[in-house]
């Protein structure tokens, strides 16, 4: 991947919520296949940054390009670009009125015009991969949080995205369920998926992160390899954050 163009290119992005500057001149390049972990205290803008990448939040300044397409370009088809970007939310957000299987097949059938039988085959394979195929006819409300989140990951993967965005995927889970979700994410990382992960799971950051990004007050304060991060953090605020969390 040396010398390759970044698959996500974030340049001087700022975002305001009223007076509040949620993102303050943020720049970040992410290469294809790279795993970037974003950490930082609550309210530091991690979610906002992640959500600008698939335009769930619009930006007020700067530019973002995904796979060579400029999101700020009027002509850009955001719905097309979003198909390349799988997203996993803290609160799962499975479609409550659809079974597990239909959560996975809805978008491929309607958006990619994949035949129902084919979409279901793909869906079942993905459900097997996240270890939950036996629940395919259940509704989300019948599953535990960990199971729902694994289904949510499979649902995103069903669109065959190039990039996966995770916004604190384990923060809403009971402790005993965190492992099963992280396992799925580790496997995905091993397969070479490009991943941007907001998390407080430092073990995960260490194990799969190519790069860790520390944010505070809407800014990227420090970027580096996990080893650098956890062995000799430079910025005092990062040190303080790591002391609190470890």
């Amino acid at each position: 991947m040396a010398g390759a163009d970044p698959i996500i290119r974030i340049r001087n992005v700022s975002k305001f919520f009223g007076q509040l500057r949620a993102l303050d001149n943020v720049s970040l390049d992410i290469l294809s296949g790279e795993k970037v972990v974003i950490i930082g205290p609550s309210g530091s803008g991690k979610s906002t940054l992640l959500r600008t990448i698939n335009q769930l939040e619009t930006i007020d300044a700067g530019s973002i390009a995904v796979d060579g397409q400029d999101l700020t370009d009027q002509a850009a088809d955001i719905n097309k670009i979003r198909m390349e970007l799988g997203m996993v939310f803290q609160s799962f957000n499975l479609f409550h009125h659809k079974t597990v299987l239909h959560n996975l097949t809805l978008a491929p059938i309607k958006l990619k015009k994949i035949a129902k039988e084919d979409a279901e085959k793909i869906a079942i394979r993905l459900l097997e991969k996240v270890g939950i195929a036996e629940k395919r006819n259940c509704y989300p409300a019948q599953l535990s949080g960990g199971q729902q989140q694994r289904v949510a990951i499979a649902r995103a993967l069903a669109m065959n995205p190039k990039i996966m965005l995770f916004d604190e995927p384990t923060s809403a889970l009971d402790p005993e369920m965190i492992g099963e979700v992280l396992d799925v994410m580790v496997n995905l990382a091993k397969e070479g998926m490009t991943m941007v992960v907001v998390t407080h799971e430092m073990g995960f950051a260490r194990e799969v992160g190519d790069r860790v990004v520390f944010m505070d007050e809407g800014k990227i304060i420090e970027t580096g390899s996990p080893e650098h991060f956890f062995q000799n953090p430079e910025h005092p605020r990062l040190r303080k954050f790591l002391e609190q969390i470890l």
Binding site: K80, R82, N93, L94, H96, H97, L111, P140, A152
Partner: protein
């Protein structure tokens, strides 16, 4: 997880008896069996005039049902678009929908009925029945619009975001994700509106539509039996609305729970 079920309370229909509300359930039983009992008693022991009445009125019941069902169907369509208009980001569409709701809610139904009936009559010759249906659905469409709006707004915004993140556009998101879920919350108040509308169709008797009430008036003015006639009419309305409210209650309990309790 936000699994809390939202209920929309638009309190202008009949009370819906469910298993949870014991008091209401026994009240329903008392009213229903009381009404049916009185009906049977009157027909059996005072066949004159009640047996004659019960033979005379069914034509009107049929018309009442026809007006109700056509008006509710049309009102649902109007309501869907009004509800979508009310949450639209397009300021013009939003203004039109909101103004419609405000105007309709500010004018008594009977005045609207007269107005639309005669205003329509100025330009086109429409059958009385059709004019009545249009007028009723124009009015109820506004209320239905508020039901749709509340139902749509009750859906957690995470559902919308998940849909967008998969690549669905706004319309697809509304159609595939939001509306099917909103229907769960919308169904009970729609049932309520249905019952309210059925009762309000009695107003169309003034517009030369031979509904239940008008049939009663026709009978009374020929026989001069006003008390007996309106007793019968009232009992029949009561039995119909009680049955409908029971059906709505059952529907509400049985409605697709999607694995939730």
């Amino acid at each position: 997880m936000s699994e809390n079920k939202v209920t929309i309370d638009i309190g202008d229909g009949a009370a819906i008896p469910t298993k949870k509300d014991r008091g209401l359930l026994s009240a329903w039983r008392l009213a229903f069996f009381g009404a049916v009992g009185s009906l049977l008693y009157l027909i059996l022991f005072h066949p004159d005039p009640y047996l004659r009445l019960i033979k005379f009125l069914p034509d009107g019941i049929l018309i009442t049902f026809q007006v109700t069902i056509s008006a509710i169907a049309l009102a649902l369509v109007v309501g869907l678009f009004t509800g979508l208009g009310r949450i639209s980001h397009n300021p013009i569409i939003n203004l039109i929908a909101s103004t419609y709701v405000e105007v309709v809610r500010g004018i008594p139904l009977l005045v609207q009925l007269f107005y639309i009936y005669y205003a329509l009559g100025q330009f086109v010759r429409v059958p009385d029945m059709l004019a009545a249906v249009i007028a009723m659905s124009f009015c109820y469409g506004a209320y239905m619009g508020e039901v749709f709006r509340a139902g749509i707004e009750s859906i957690d915004r995470g559902q919308r975001e998940a849909s967008f993140s998969l690549g669905f556009n706004r319309a697809q998101t509304m159609f595939y994700v939001i509306l099917p879920q909103a229907l769960r919350t919308i169904l009970p108040p729609v049932g309520n509106e249905f019952i309210a509308l059925l009762k309000d169709t009695s107003l169309v008797s003034i517009l030369a539509v031979s509904d239940l009430l008008r049939r009663g008036r026709e009978f009374a003015s020929e026989s001069f039996l006003y008390f007996e006639t309106y007793t019968m009419v009232a009992i029949i309305y009561l039995i119909i609305t009680l049955i409908l409210s029971k059906l709505v209650g059952i529907m509400e309990e049985r409605m697709g729970n999607h694995g939730r309790r």
